[in-house]
């Protein structure tokens, strides 16, 4: 039996969006919006089986290559300050295997009429550094997609 090992890392990603903090927060809070921008590429699908965006709430989602949504993610919302901050934990599993747990902080700050978003992913990865690189790449691509989402989706009246 291999010795289980845990690798820890802190990943920090930053973006500036040409949208208000309220608008960016709305795109973060709404599971339908997240299903659009939350995947790293168009060949990856993201489906929410359960969505409950509130302090103490739990989202359950599956993602992966189209037709093979092998990753299951449990997101627990621990702190929500509207238009300012979301702190959550994300447990990523593949089948019976738990791959990683992350403490994810998203902070929104107004910069003129734009918003600076800072995402900090404090990750505990089981079984190696690949999960850390994968988490970084996945979040980074999703944040790029968020820019596209914000440009194209009109604000609801």
């Amino acid at each position: 039996m291999t010795e289980p090992s845990v690798t820890h890392a802190t990943i920090v990603l930053e973006r500036i969006y040409e949208a208000s903090p309220a608008r960016v927060f709305q795109a973060l809070a709404d599971p339908q919006a997240r299903a659009r921008w939350g995947t790293p590429s168009k060949n990856v699908d993201l489906v929410y089986d359960k969505a409950d965006f509130r302090v103490g709430g739990l989202d359950i989602s599956r993602c992966g290559p189209r037709g093979s949504l092998i990753y299951r993610v449990e997101t627990r919302y621990i702190d929500i300050e509207p238009e300012q901050r979301i702190v959550s934990t994300e447990l990523v599993c593949e089948g019976w295997n738990r791959l990683s747990v992350s403490l994810v902080t998203v902070e929104l700050q107004p910069v003129g009429t734009s918003t600076r978003l800072v995402l900090t992913d404090q990750i505990a990865a089981f079984g190696g550094k690949d999960m850390i690189a994968g988490s970084q790449a996945g979040f980074s691509a999703a944040l790029d997609n968020l820019a596209v989402e914000l440009r194209h989706q009109p604000v609801d009246a």
């Binding site: 802190t10 627990r76 621990i78 702190d79 901050r85 702190v87 934990t89 447990l91 902080t105 505990a124």
Partner: protein, 154 residues
């Protein structure tokens, strides 16, 4: 709107205990055992304590000074490998205010007849209410209380 801030930090604490990993794991995972050592040395009056040790299960530990705000520790177990590893997230509430959210990893390694415990805490300290170094100190004290408990039993 209130000015918000978050300080992120990671600290690692190690302890060597004169008990086998299964005994250390028992002290960490059994509610009756944990109730005996997981206390606030400044406020030994037991408040609310509940523990559901399974993946997805929750632990709540509340207490505080007689005429002060209640401190509430609420944890969720994220990963458990018996006798080897426990990963849990927890939030600290001071009255109505959430002061921090953390992800903690406890790893147990056999060391001769004893156990080396390695605790890695990755924390998000909210709005300047508490600091990582203060939390590191308090967590070290808790691990010392665990050591005293294990010493009694060995």
């Amino acid at each position: 709107m209130i000015e918000r801030s978050v300080v992120h930090s990671t600290f690692i604490i190690e302890r060597l205990y004169p008990a086998a990993p299964s005994k250390v794991f028992f002290a960490l995972s059994n509610a009756d055992a944990k109730r005996r050592w997981f206390t606030d040395p400044d406020n030994p009056m037991p408040g609310r304590f509940q523990m559901d040790f399974r993946i997805g299960g929750k632990e709540v530990n509340a207490g505080g000074p007689k005429d002060g705000p209640i401190h509430v520790y609420t944890a969720t177990y994220q990963d458990i490998v018996p006798d080897q590893r426990i990963v849990y997230s927890y939030a600290m509430l001071f009255g109505e205010t959430r002061i921090s959210v953390s992800l903690a990893t406890i790893e147990l390694f056999a060391d001769g007849k004893g156990t080396r415990l390695v605790l890695t805490e990755q924390g998000a300290f909210l709005d300047g209410h508490d600091t990582s170094s203060s939390r590191e100190h308090g967590t070290g004290v808790l691990l010392d209380l665990l050591g005293a408990f294990l010493n009694e039993k060995t």
